[in-house]
């Protein structure tokens, strides 16, 4: 419990630091948000009004305090371009990113764990000689390139999957949940999730294989053999359970980093998620939106880093349950 509290406090500190860094980043860097509004009718007076309406005319420390206060209230400000609350825009995109990330990670880890465990037993075989470089290649290939190749084959050339978006145009749903669970949504999800999974599976695969090899050399595995236990019981109950510890942690970490790392995949597949909100906001110099998206992605990352730590502690009794004498 004490450990839990300390970890949460640490995450809070990191979040504060990230928020401060973000603030400074967006305030101190060159670039003028009003540039978006340059038009044949744009005047100096309008520019001043605009800066004032976003509080950008105040001194920096004052802006910072206002910013922190708003952040604590969950207020991420108003988008320059859309004039809507940043939080609303982000929350609309969040479910799509979450669906993509979670689906891809689950596929990647389910496959990676099974294949990694299999490869641990296939040491020195031809299968291993092919599978390991193959896994490394998928990690070395740029995601967008993989995505474009898949898209050009499976969508453009063979027409199996839709070429982008999250739903068929104009489809109606009773609720967000109904949308996320609709066949239509899932069908659109296949290609981006597959691409992302293809990119992600290398890590759990190699990690599972390595930890599995390490665990298989452990004395308790030899003991299990001496006990005359079945091969299945040895692999599943003893080896896999121990080997999965770091993989489970990697899953949580992957969840955190994928949330922001999906930027590229979302762009390739026109997937309406957080990453694209960030990219278009940055490109359009919509600083409140870009800043909000960045903070939200960072918050998920920090949160998942924390979850990974706590998860490891929870799964591993050596950490969670203190030694008793």
């Amino acid at each position: 419990m004490k450990r839990f509290g300390a970890r949460v406090a640490h995450a809070g500190f990191v979040l504060w630091a990230v928020a401060t860094l973000t603030f400074l980043l967006f305030r101190l860097m060159p670039g003028d948000p009003t540039l978006n509004f340059l038009s044949d009718s744009f005047s100096e007076e309008m520019r001043a009004d605009l800066l004032q309406s976003f509080g950008l005319d105040k001194p920096l420390p004052e802006q910072y305090l206002i910013y922190l206060g708003s952040l604590l209230r969950g207020d991420l400000g108003v988008s320059f371009l859309q004039k809507r609350p940043v939080l609303d825009i982000l929350l609309a995109a969040l479910p799509n990113t979450a669906a993509l990330t979670v689906t891809a990670l689950v596929i990647a880890y389910a496959f990676g764990i099974v294949a990694g465990a299999f490869l641990a037993f296939a040491r020195g075989t031809v299968t291993e000689g092919i599978a390991i470089p193959a896994a490394l290649i998928t990690r070395a290939a740029p995601e967008f390139w993989l995505g474009m190749l898949l898209l050009s084959w499976l969508s453009f050339a063979w027409g199996i999957f839709p070429s982008g978006g999250a739903n068929v145009a104009g489809s109606e749903f009773t609720s967000e949940w109904a949308r996320l669970t609709s066949v239509d949504f899932l069908w659109h999800l296949v290609l981006p999730a597959l691409t992302l999974a293809l990119y992600l599976q290398g890590l759990p695969l190699l990690l599972m294989r390595a930890t599995m090899l390490e665990v298989l050399n452990d004395e308790f595995i030899v003991m299990a053999r001496m006990k005359g236990l079945s091969r299945w019981a040895i692999v599943m109950r003893h080896a896999a359970r121990n080997a999965l510890l770091p993989v489970a942690t990697a899953f949580a970490l992957g969840l955190g980093s994928s949330f922001g790392g999906n930027v590229v995949i979302e762009t390739v597949f026109s997937w309406p998620g957080l990453g694209r909100v960030l990219v278009s906001a940055v490109q359009g110099a919509d600083y409140p939106l870009a800043q909000g998206a960045f903070i939200m992605i960072a918050a998920v990352l920090v949160l998942m880093n924390m979850v990974a730590d706590l998860l490891y502690a929870w799964l591993d009794p050596r950490v969670s349950v203190g030694a008793r004498r």
Binding site: H10, F13, V14, L15, A17, V18, L21, L25, F26, M29, P30, G31, P133, L136, I137, R139, A140, A141, P142, E143, F144, W145, M148, L149, L151, S152, F156, A210, L213, E214, S257, F259, G260, G261, V263, V264, T267, G275, L278, V279, V282, Q283, A285, A290, A293, F294, I297, A298, L301, V302, N305
Partner: protein, 299 residues
């Protein structure tokens, strides 16, 4: 006397050669990785000689007619782009920017990461706390979004990209180096050095640093790949160095000009393969050296 010393020194070379040959035989992965590196390094050095055209030049065929989408031929090994530039020459010159980005980023990752890891691990105390806190904060920043934001807010370019990649990746190296240093610090010979009055700096840089160098190199070779992939992703999203000739920018150019729909494989496949090969080389080398460093995993 010279004869004697020659005799004494003689076994060194065959031993070294045998060790190297043994390494090559036992570590085909690492050898393949090194071979790929070598290939690209040679290409980068002799890019001007290898390339058949100026990679930036807009080529014409006839008055005011740009030579766009020429198919692969003996003059244009991989054809030309939509803008009338030679694909092969861009590919060759692209190796320069890839290596430049990869190697400089890796260099800074290794230098910063090792330095801070050494200080943090050896000095401990508040230095350690401050460095590790900063590392925690950086690990709380999303990688690609951060690079994009920095590129967008400053002038986009190779320098920005390399700087942000280095900034984002040093904590991993520093953490590993730190834990290595923590265990080295307790070893007898470090203790001995301390007792005999070696200065702290001397102990850190003369006694400990060489011990952690292979580990740092391992993280460096992975950083090469990360930097190149990041450059490609940033370029693809339009945040790359607009003046560079890079594989990422080539892919971006190809996609923007719909090379996929046109089926111009000779344009958009080679840069992707080059990225895969160079990043893969880093992974292979690191796997090889991993086996050297952690023989326990390798047997």
């Amino acid at each position: 006397m010279p004869g004697a010393s020659a005799v004494a020194r003689r076994p060194v070379l065959p031993g070294f050669v045998r060790a190297t040959l043994g390494f090559l035989r036992r570590q085909p992965f690492a050898v393949a990785g090194l071979a790929i590196y070598l290939l690209f390094i040679v290409t980068a050095i002799f890019a001007d000689q290898i390339a058949t055209h100026d990679p930036r030049e807009i080529l014409f065929r006839g008055a005011y007619r740009v030579a766009r989408y020429l198919p692969p031929s003996t003059t244009h090994y991989l054809g030309t782009t939509a803008g009338g530039r030679d694909v092969f020459s861009q590919l060759v010159h692209g190796s320069r920017s890839a290596l430049q980005v990869g190697v400089t980023a890796a260099f800074f990752v290794v230098v910063i990461g090792t330095l801070l890891g050494l200080l943090s691990g050896y000095l401990g105390g508040w230095v350690d706390r401050v460095i590790m806190r900063i590392a925690d904060i950086i690990l709380g920043l999303p990688f690609l979004p951060f690079v994009l934001v920095i590129s967008a807010l400053t002038r986009p370019g190779t320098t920005t990209l390399v700087a942000s990649v280095a900034l984002m990746l040093w904590p991993n190296t520093a953490r590993v180096i730190r834990s290595q240093v923590l265990s080295l610090r307790e070893r007898g010979w470090v203790e001995a050095a301390r007792v005999t009055g070696c200065s702290t700096w001397r102990i850190i840089f003369v006694h400990i640093a060489p011990q952690v160098a292979p580990l740092a190199a391992l993280y460096g070779s992975i950083a090469v790949g990360w930097a190149i992939l990041t450059e490609a992703s940033a370029s693809f999203l339009g945040f790359g160095d607009p003046a560079a000739i890079s594989w990422g920018l080539m892919l971006q150019d190809a996609f923007a000009n719909q090379a996929l729909s046109r089926g111009v494989w000779s344009w958009f496949v080679p840069p992707g393969l080059c990225i895969v090969a160079l990043v893969l080389a880093g992974f292979l080398v690191s796997r090889g050296s991993e086996k050297l460093l952690f023989p326990k995993l390798g047997d």
